[in-house]
């Protein structure tokens, strides 16, 4: 499959359950060994690199299931993961993350397991932003969240995109984010079956029914 995330754009990876979306993400960040093909980030091959090296190159991952550290406070979750050597002119700080997600402001000293699902998701995104990424990957970022919380996340993604950060989004609520996204890939059984801009996806209702079951 071919997947290209254009700089500063929001690209989505779509497909039914079990089609290989999360495996694709794991391949990108080096969690799954790739036997053939090529994966590059900003022109540099990242195949065979350890995960921590790939992440340090500027990829922030918001994983499926959030995986907040329950034994660290909200502030510690953010501070512990901060990348202070990103080389970027402006780097994310805890204050900026709190400004971005005000709901976290009152919860800074609470432990990770004392947050609601929505707050945990905001923290997971905030934690990824503290890595000062040039690319953000969100794997099922809104799974199990209330519609209002999901809307809050989409709004924040728009702002993140405006900052020039490339986004790769994997999610099921396509109707909610189609307006903010730029390009889409649909995969089935590990193979790319369609790629195109938002307008083409909206216009082709059969496509969604066929590959996404919507």
């Amino acid at each position: 499959m071919g997947l290209e995330c254009k700089e500063g754009k929001l690209t989505t990876l779509l497909g039914r359950n079990g089609m290989g979306k999360t495996t694709t993400v794991k391949s990108i960040i080096g969690k799954v060994s790739v036997t053939h093909g090529e994966i590059s980030f900003r022109g540099e091959s990242i195949i065979g690199m350890p995960t921590y090296d790939i992440i340090r190159k500027g990829i922030g991952l918001v994983p499926e299931g959030r995986h907040i550290f329950p034994n660290l406070s909200v502030k510690e979750n953010l501070v512990a993961t901060a990348n202070k050597n990103s080389g970027l002119a402006t780097e994310w700080t805890v204050d900026q993350v709190v400004e971005f997600f005000p709901a976290l402001g009152d919860r800074l000293n609470h432990m990770g397991d004392q947050l609601s699902g929505g707050e945990q998701q905001m923290l997971a995104i905030g934690r990824a932003l503290m890595l000062n990424p040039q690319m953000l990957i969100l794997d099922e970022a809104t799974e199990g969240l209330a519609p209002l919380v999901r809307q809050e996340i989409w709004n924040r993604l728009v702002e993140i995109k405006q900052l020039g950060i490339t986004i790769l989004l994997i999610d099921k609520n396509i109707d909610e984010f189609i307006d903010i996204s730029d390009f889409h890939y649909i995969i089935e059984k590990g193979r790319q079956v369609w790629a195109g801009p938002s307008r083409e996806l909206v216009d082709d209702s059969g496509l969604k029914a066929r590959y996404l079951g919507i």
Partner: protein, 315 residues
């Protein structure tokens, strides 16, 4: 990691440190040299338990060979003393370097494993050291080695006399507590704590957790080695027996009884363990039976250990 401490439990901790600080004077006043000896031994083992807690409680690395560093530290006093080298700074430096090197080499191998394999490999390395010292006839082999004089330091910080020795131990305890307190609240500490919960997640956030865990393992070994220096000086005798893997098991028990991943817990655990051992042995010669039962009960019902009971004061 323990949740932010409340004021009541902090008062208990500070009160305990104050009592430990004035304990030698109280024991001298009441003419109880045995209790001072027991407390000194308890604090040395407490420092070793604190060092184990750094990797076990905060980092989730269950080592069944940690006591090897206690023995190495003690032999770093005994072997130079055998050659009439009594300079305390040499003893301390030797213990730091030897423990750090041994931990670096064994940790580099051990930390490539996880779970039960890590437990087994740390035990294997510990047994290796145990049998090496057991075969060194020059240094007493299984008969052990008598240390005829304590490490020499400038007169204002010498180790001569029970009270001076006690304050050396108390001083190292305070330094260890402060160091661990700062370490676990630093970025380094948070990576270690996070790695205990989900190592793969921490790697996915850009951390080479292997390097962090190895550094933590080495730091922990050095602290335990320093406790060993004090143990060698305190007992004036060392033998390979103090490096037996069963001693490492006792150290793990102390950490669990006191409360894993808490700052003061292992100290409470070590003191309770030793005092209970002494108290029960006064009652009956079959004290092991009662002691074993109590330990089982504590592990089964005392969830979170002594430190968790204390933290209930804050609720």
């Amino acid at each position: 990691m323990a949740k932010p401490s409340g004021t009541r439990s902090v008062k208990v901790y500070l009160g305990m440190l104050f009592l430990l600080g004035i304990a030698p004077l109280l024991f001298q006043w009441t003419n109880q040299p045995f209790l001072l000896d027991l407390l000194s031994r308890g604090l040395i083992i407490g420092i070793a338990a604190l060092s184990l807690n750094l990797i076990l409680g905060y980092g989730g690395m269950i080592s069944l060979g940690h006591v090897a560093y206690l023995g190495i530290g003690a032999y770093c006093v005994g072997i130079p003393a055998y050659y009439d080298i009594y300079d305390g700074w040499i003893h301390l430096s030797l213990a730091v370097v030897t423990c750090a090197l041994f931990a670096l080499i064994t940790g580099a191998v051990s930390l490539r494993t996880k779970g039960v394999y890590f437990i087994m490999i740390t035990m294997a390395f510990s047994q290796m050291i145990y049998f090496i010292f057991l075969s060194l006839e020059e240094y007493g082999a299984d008969d052990g080695l008598v240390i005829y004089a304590r490490s020499e330091f400038p007169v204002w910080i010498n180790m001569e006399g029970a009270i001076s020795m006690y304050y050396w131990i108390f001083g190292l305890l305070i330094l260890t507590l402060f160091f661990i307190h700062r370490l676990v609240r630093s970025r380094f500490g948070r990576v270690i704590i996070g790695s205990k919960y989900n190592d793969l997640r921490m790697q996915s956030l850009g951390f080479n957790t292997y390097g962090y865990r190895l550094t933590c393992y080495v730091i922990s070994a050095v602290i335990c080695g320093l406790a060993g220096v004090l143990l060698g000086n305190f007992t004036s005798f060392i033998s390979p027996e103090m490096m037996s893997w069963t001693r490492s098991g006792e150290l793990i028990f102390m950490v669990i009884i006191g409360g894993t991943g808490s700052l003061f817990g292992p100290l409470f655990g070590a003191l309770s363990f030793l005092f209970l051992e002494e108290a029960l042995s006064l009652i009956t010669i079959y004290w092991h039976l009662i002691f074993g039962g109590l330990l089982i009960a504590l592990v089964l019902f005392g969830k979170g250990g002594i430190d968790a009971w204390l933290s209930k004061l804050d609720k």
